[in-house]
Symmetry: C2
Subunit: 696 residues, 2 copies
Amino acid sequence: MRELKSMDGNNAAAHVSYAFTEVAAIYPITPSSPMADYVDQWSAQGRKNIFGTTVKVAELESEAGAAGAVHGSLTAGALTTTYTASQGLLLMIPNMYKIAAEQLPSVFHVSARTVSTHALNIFGDHSDVMACRQTGFAMMAETNVQEVMDLSAVAHLAAIKGGLPVLNFFDGFRTSHEVQKIQVWDYEDLAEMCDFDAIKAFRDHALNPEHPAMRGSHENGDIFFQHREACNSHYDAFPAVVEEYMDKVNAKLGTDYKLFNYYGAPDADRVIVAMGSICDVIEEVIDYLNAHGEKVGLVKPRLYRPWVSARFCEAIPASCTKLAVLDRTKEPGSAGEPLFQDVITALAQEGRSIGTVTRGRYGLGSKDTPPSSVFAIYAELAKDEPKREFTIGIVDDVTNLSLPEDENCPNTAAEGTIECKFWGLGGDGTVGANKNSIKIIGDHTDKYVQAYFQYDSKKTGGVTVSHLRFGDNPIKSPYYINKADFVACHNPSYITKGFKIVQDVKPGGVFLINCQWNLEELEHHLDAASKRYIAENNIQLYTINAIDLAIKVGMGKRTNTILQSAFFTLANVMPAEDAVKYMKDAAEHSYAKKGMDVVEKNWNAIDAGATAFVKVDVPASWASAEAAPVDVALEGPAATVAVVKKILNPIGKMDGYSLPVSAFAEPHRQDGRLQPARLRLRRPGRRPVPPGRLRL
Amino acid sequence: MRELKSMDGNNAAAHVSYAFTEVAAIYPITPSSPMADYVDQWSAQGRKNIFGTTVKVAELESEAGAAGAVHGSLTAGALTTTYTASQGLLLMIPNMYKIAAEQLPSVFHVSARTVSTHALNIFGDHSDVMACRQTGFAMMAETNVQEVMDLSAVAHLAAIKGGLPVLNFFDGFRTSHEVQKIQVWDYEDLAEMCDFDAIKAFRDHALNPEHPAMRGSHENGDIFFQHREACNSHYDAFPAVVEEYMDKVNAKLGTDYKLFNYYGAPDADRVIVAMGSICDVIEEVIDYLNAHGEKVGLVKPRLYRPWVSARFCEAIPASCTKLAVLDRTKEPGSAGEPLFQDVITALAQEGRSIGTVTRGRYGLGSKDTPPSSVFAIYAELAKDEPKREFTIGIVDDVTNLSLPEDENCPNTAAEGTIECKFWGLGGDGTVGANKNSIKIIGDHTDKYVQAYFQYDSKKTGGVTVSHLRFGDNPIKSPYYINKADFVACHNPSYITKGFKIVQDVKPGGVFLINCQWNLEELEHHLDAASKRYIAENNIQLYTINAIDLAIKVGMGKRTNTILQSAFFTLANVMPAEDAVKYMKDAAEHSYAKKGMDVVEKNWNAIDAGATAFVKVDVPASWASAEAAPVDVALEGPAATVAVVKKILNPIGKMDGYSLPVSAFAEPHRQDGRLQPARLRLRRPGRRPVPPGRLRL
């Protein structure tokens, strides 16, 4: 078995791409930047690719420049790679047509991200890669971090042997930034699979003054069309090359990668077609449903371009009567989103009749897709007349496309998975400490781990929510935790603001609040709904005053180490003394170069945090806590007040997820506009907020 | 009836767009530049739009900048327009997503042009506009110059009332540069149809410091998806707005524009679906076939986005059993090109069953699509098992997708159309003189006219071929003339190079050669095939020595006026004295400001040209002329010699059209590469060509 390491999808793609890359032409854009950053760092460290050379990294002035440099570098005979997303990818489109038509073996690794529309959004969906489906690039899709590791190799190997560039994509943030404990390729294995003859041929045909050839020429109407059709056989041959390398990888790893993989009941009546991280959610739900007597399945296109209709149809069980095709993009005004149209076309081309084929949109801009969404799809498909077009993960009360979802659907996470959730403030060290924790658990136990860090695009100063899972079984679950064994609130202001936090703790689970409050103060700040939830669900409530403690042990404002240590004790992941030891080792590793006094302060914080929490005896009265009447008067133009009440307040309370489509459907809001906040807010017993400022 | 004028599609689009435009943000790219140029000129002349103001024209640093300026200008409340094509359009894609999602009423007029792939190509196809189909723009397609005039108004009016940007496209060169005598909108009619309330609402909601609103914001995963779905009803409503304006236009003009127009037999069994100039070719063939007992038809999508599946299906006769969908783009690796996929999707969505639906590609990079191509499609559809995927206009002897075409298919041009063809050299004045001729015929007779100018992308110094048609019936025929009543070769070197020129003259037609040769010399230079064609087809052969004559009358190298005058006499378009008068008037108009001596020289040239041609008595021996054995030895590397013989020689002889796909199918040629010309050429009786130079 290959070496196991904890890493995210960007790291996995970077690891593989470095092996096959001679030149990386880059320009940073979220969420792809870490890929280029890894490659740049490794290059600076002198790491060798499979050719025994160090990658030459060139940062250009924009993604347009990066794409041009990729094209030029390939033309000069260097295996060249780039990393991008979203608008960055759009700027590469003109060069992509050239690179594809010149049959140059590049790989573009894309952490797929939303293209800006009514608003900017830095998070994940497939609108960027789908804007490139017409360029002639091959396209491959991966579901999770392990697949990024495994199949990125196929992308590079097939590009080299098959003579086409590959756009290799996986979900921005959900896969690019999710940490998983995965098996990592050894470069010797990669070199062993590589077709060095094809590389030699590629280099032999590079631009060379010793044997010049004309390329990038101009052609008129007389010959252009004939010449353009000359590539048909080349494209027809490419899928077999991809299959060949999937087979090689399967032989090495014992996997079963195919152009289109099927998962589920061999005699399924209802099947979903989807690409990207949602596939792992769907598989969890399939396991649950099929274990409970239903017959459902999933087809996962891995080679999206060239699209092989025959292979797609082969992957669907003969028993299937209903198909739902999921697109993680929206193309307003189209006859249907791209994967849906490809599926319809494939069925028509192959003469395959499936009673009902429906289309769904999901996950735009990193909208979370939990199992409840997938249950909803299969439930809808079970109806006699399922909706022909639908959305999941939202409430569409305007065009009524959304499917009803049951928040209390079964928990489909792997048996025995421990789920922990941490609310922090961007820059407070919570995310860093959690990355450290997951590394300790991953490296020093046999447990599988998963970590996902949800944050506002402004990052520093915004709310961060860390989602950590670990357990004895492999973890899929590419969605937010909302049934946690352990939840920590690292910032007391989230309690006073009334964020819904404790509601994610499972009955009997642990809730830890970092605050300077005694019980009386805690009672004052906790809202009635939280109190009732704690009392009714037997939540084990703890407080910890890491704020004062950090000052005391010389850590100043840095509470994260103390809170990390408290987590290890309370969550009982491993023997307490082991956890303390590993945390201390990590602190020494991180801070030794800053001096032993810094290391010792961290050690003191670890020791202090391990025991500094206080169990709160939950008063019986909390079970019947009622909200005190709050009379908040918003003063200002009616339209502005309406926007604040309807939209800005819920968003400010981290409850924007609950907003339905109707909140945005007014004519002058659906185009992305919002009224400005020009109003005054008065709350009884507080001093008036000065004009121009708002407490939301 | 509206005023009739002779103009090309760019002029028509510019005329309409100027009426509705307050700001034009532009950057020039072939073949769209003249649109922006017209608007810029009219603006400089102080012409008023329908709001009584002059268009403000801003030329940006690139198309990316132009698109950004369009976005900004719209956001500030100005009706803003741009004009572009090909890579220029690709650079606008990122802003297009924003403009669409913000529901801003812009029109992008696009003279659709090839996107560069294995080679640059400045000519027409739909690969550029199809790369934008996912942006959320509405899209409208026009077939010919008159439609550009009529429907561009619908694009602007619907954008304003419906609140969406429209990408309004027509075929680059074929429509953008084809001169037709068309009816021209009066701005009062346009103003009458315009929804000024909608414009007021648009302006009221522009960025304004008096009533600020937030826009272009950032949204996280909590609300982005819901907000994105809020536009659904807006898109659903747009097609009805387009229909409303089509109806208004129909009421004014007596036209019958619909979202999807049907042409042909109401009980057709075979139907083509297509957009752009090919529709007029198809209609000619439909008229012929249906007049000869067949039942065929055509569906023309005019509103391509938002795509209305129900309306599309309604347009297909119930009797239709076979459908061929034509795309003027190629998306290698796709399940099918976009219009084909939309048709398949529409049929599936509407539950409409058509026995056979095939897909065809045509016209890439301005490959000409003559009636023979369309006959071939209907013939193929008549087969029991028509090809599921095909190409027309080329010979694909590699993947065998092309349909067999009969060059001697019926002439489908309108009854009584006179067809004339002129071979010139870029910069020799042939094109300019022909534009002048067509204007004279268009303005001073009741005849319909059409002029199309075919040239190499290097323009000056390249071969130009002018295609002029005129007649008493409306002219469709958007394809090259290859059965001409009159053909002139303005450059004697084309004869010595052996271009196939006279072969396009109809039996009994006129062939005029500009040369300094006597009969003996002419016999020497004309190749045997041309001689036989002349003799066997009773071609009326004339020579004219415009070269010496031009010097004599003081025109120096300018032979074009003499040759134009000769054309008017020989083609007998109008009474000779009238033609001379109009030509002289035009010369005075053009050159008066350069002084009367220049005008008089032109007048002399006109007088001289009218009679300076010489009828050649074709020797009977020409009927049996045989080619003298020509032993051309090409010396050089075998691969290079092969390229010259197989590819470069036919292209050099203006016969590249005859090259099949196999000429480009070798692995190192299908990617756009060609061997360099490093060889020596020896021809008996001529001095050796120095190395590095070639006579092709």
